[in-house]
Symmetry: C2
């Protein structure tokens, strides 16, 4: 039971983590300091986790990583939109 | 077998993702655009995954998330060091 709660906390925090970064970039309209490679690696990583979840029919893995894929994809979009170089 | 390879790719990319961001901040000495909240959420998340792995005695979870915790902790350190505000 305690382990399940720990898993839910862990999944929730790693999934939502990128959102404050997305909001910060939209608010400040600045994304120079952000590494595109970080979010490309995250897209490959959580995309692979989503496929892994689909292959294993593991719904918690599919949902958390599928959401992460959408959030990180949004981050790549705002990085491209607000980066000047 | 293919599923295991997918899991290794997924684990590797999500674990190393933060490193290009750490190197970029050290190189440019600038971290204004980076959200501290993102990395605080990631620290809570991967820290919880590490405890989850310890509770379940699941070594791949412990190793990937333990490394992520160290890398994200380093990111918080460089953010604090190079942020002017």
């Amino acid at each position: 039971m305690l382990i399940t709660i720990l898993g839910i906390i862990a999944g929730a925090f790693t999934t939502i983590a990128v959102l404050p970064q997305v909001f910060k970039v939209i608010k400040t309209k600045s994304a120079e300091d952000i590494s595109m490679w970080m979010f490309v690696c995250l897209l490959i990583g959580v995309g692979s986790w989503t496929l892994y979840g689909i292959a294993k029919e593991d719904w918690p893995i599919i949902i958390t990583n599928g959401l992460s894929f959408i959030f990180n994809g949004t981050m790549v979009y705002v990085k491209l939109k607000y980066s000047k170089n």
